[in-house]
């Protein structure tokens, strides 16, 4: 290793900068690894994704299937669907590859959300880290977009329905909806163009953006240094932690392999998106129950719960029943979350490097808990047909209950969180005083 380092140094003269970089402090706390979890899930996505691209055919051209899966022999399907079907059933390790990729996507978004929660509840977004919070929101949006584009690629029944709903969402934009939908889809009701566009988006545009923005995210993090909890001799003027080399590098490298191991295990042992059971896209069939991947259930839930409303505005019919839950609501939510560091600045003009315990800021914690509760209720609403079947009740009852929950659950949960924080702090004070 030393020979290699010498070889590089004689050509790039890094030895002046290297020792400082190698001794960079990484504060230790298990929740700080959530960001790395997302990063390594993304690495697995890239690796598996590149290989998948070699097998996938992004064409909506119809073909008759004549492969090894008997129930679909003779059925008409798009070339895209056939390529994914063949990969899943006739290519060795093909199914493992595909399912690992899909699981990695679910874990990727989950890790981002968990990481965001950690940053939120510990106040790590305060100055000087507002920029990185915004960069992180961009990453979340990119991940969501790519998740949607990704599961639309196999062109099965579920994917087709989702693309249709996406078109309806675009249509609901005021004044320009019809034109925007036509631009995005290449033509109204045309599937060929939109399939190849989703492919380019999913494989080229968004991954390139993700790599660039993740690099920016990490560069800013390295420049500003990681936050830490204040205990022992840690304070606002120093960073204390394990050095990058060798401890953190080895630990982080190990974490990558463990994440990859878990994703591969899930990919091989837990079935996901069995497209052959649902069959190829057919505009006249929609399966029931139907719902998107977990991170879009809240969108579907909002669409399901919002009442049908298509008023006439300025002489034009405007489908607000789709626009409000499908466009305006997500935009407001993401906008509010993105601007949060400017709404909760903490002490003005002073940089904050120490993290705060959630219990020491009960109002912020309560607000965060309320927001998460809203998200959970909407996510449950996205599967209201499954719920209705599970509790053997009509969907209308489930919907009414969920609508009430939407109003009541977040403030109640927030209030409980608030009281709990205060109680924890009070107990500590008592223990110290006693």
């Amino acid at each position: 290793m030393n020979d290699a380092a010498g070889w590089i140094d004689r050509r790039l003269a890094v030895s002046r900068l290297a020792p400082k970089a190698l001794r960079k402090a990484f504060p230790e706390q298990w929740s700080f690894l959530l960001g790395e979890l997302a990063l390594y899930a993304f690495a697995v996505l890239l690796l598996t994704g590149v290989i998948l691209t070699l097998f996938y055919d992004p064409s909506a051209q119809p073909v008759i299937y004549e492969g090894s899966y008997a129930p679909l022999v003779g059925a008409e399907m798009s070339e895209a669907y056939r390529s994914v079907l063949t990969l899943s059933r006739d290519v060795q390790t093909g199914l493992l590859l595909r399912q690992t990729h899909h699981w990695a996507a679910l874990v990727f978004v989950g890790a981002i959300v968990a990481h965001m929660c950690r940053v939120f509840f510990t106040g790590a977004y305060r100055r000087p880290r507002e920029i990185n919070w915004l960069v992180g929101i961009v990453l979340l949006v990119l991940a969501l977009i790519n998740g949607f584009a990704g599961y639309s690629l196999p062109d099965d029944l579920l994917a087709g329905a989702t693309v249709r709903i996406f078109e309806a969402t675009l249509l609901s934009l005021p004044v320009i909806g019809d034109d925007v939908a036509s631009l995005v889809f290449g033509a109204p009701l045309d599937r060929e163009t939109v399939m190849s566009r989703l492919f380019v988006l999913h494989v080229l545009i968004v991954p390139a953006l993700l790599v660039a923005v993740i690099s920016a995210h990490m560069a800013i993090l390295l420049r500003q240094k990681h936050t830490q909890f204040g205990h022992g001799h840690r304070h606002e003027r120093n960073v204390v932690g394990l050095p990058l080399w060798p401890e953190h590098a080895a630990k982080s490298g190990g974490l990558f392999f463990l994440v990859a191991a878990l994703l591969v295990a899930l990919g091989g042992l837990v079935e996901i998106n069995p497209i052959w059971l649902r069959g190829p896209f057919d505009g006249t069939i929609v399966p029931s129950p139907i719902h998107p991947d977990w991170f879009q259930l809240w969108n579907s839930g909002a669409l399901r719960l919002f009442p049908g409303w298509e008023p006439t505005v300025l002489g034009h019919a405007w489908p607000l029943g789709v626009f409000l839950p499908g466009v305006l609501f997500p935009a407001l939510v993401i906008g509010l979350v993105a601007l949060w560091p400017f709404l909760d600045r903490g002490e003005p003009g002073v940089p904050h490097h120490l993290l705060q315990r959630p219990r020491d800021h009960p109002r912020r914690t309560a607000l965060g808990v309320a927001g998460l509760t809203l998200f959970v209720v909407l996510t449950a609403a996205g599967a209201n047909d499954v719920l209705a079947r599970a509790v053997d009740a009509p969907v209308s009852t489930v919907n009414s209950t969920l609508r009430w929950l939407l109003l009541i659950a977040p403030p109640v949960a927030g209030a409980i969180a608030y009281r709990w924080c205060r109680a924890l702090v009070a107990a500590e004070v008592r223990r110290r005083g006693a």
Binding site: G268, L269, I285, T312
Partner: protein
Amino acid sequence: MSRLAGAVVALLALLAMGRVAERMARRRGDEPEPPIGTIALLALASMGGSVAFAVIYVLGGQTQLEAVALAVALSGLGLALVIFAARGMPGELVEEPWEPPAPPPEEREALLAELDRMPRRKLIGRMLVTAAGTLGLAGLVPIASLGPAPGDRRTRTGWRAGASLVTGDGAAVRTTSIGAGEVLTVFPEGRAGNAQDQVVLIDTGRPGPQRLLAYSRVCTHAGCAVGLYQEAEQVLVCPCHQSVFDVLDGARPMQGPAGRALPGLPVEVGEDAVLRATGPLDAPPGPGWWRRA
């Protein structure tokens, strides 16, 4: 649902692993003696997993076994690294001062002085910026090439007076093709399978003009195919967001997020008991958009 459970388990497992890695890494002391035996064992297990994976592949492959073998190979390596990090490295904490992210005033003034070397010419600056902006806007105009103007493509269907009803296979639909309480997906002749034109023909079993009813099958909410018919309540249900349409009342939405009734198709029994339309759909099918009311 099991996918949701799987995802939750995955996330919890990963968090647990992170915690374990963390706790193991929180060690102090000088260069300790790493547990060579354990690490060697893990490395060997990893090698075994890798070889097993290759062997299973060569022997024909099996998804679950390959997954387990590969997972063993990866996690063996991962655990070996983590344990090495936790118990085989000094583990001394380092301390770095925060550099003030805001540089000292002299540096900032030097920077501003450098920036000031750009000559301040308002007119030139404004002209250049305006030219660049205009170029940018002009460059956006070809976005219109991405798709044609929609025109009447959303409102136009194959349904018109005299169009015969056919099934998805192109076979003519007669009064004998459908019984009481049954539904059939039909299309205009010559456009069998066209998703925009799809219509649901319902035999409600009621006598008189309300026996055979036909409505567009494209949900007016978000465009999914309204495929579920409940005979007892005489309603059509869309599976995507559970809009419910009253079949006997012009497919008016009773429940759910749809805001408009499903467009109706007037049908009559023609010669040879073949069903045919007597006019187009009474509204454009599918989801709404900003259009003249």
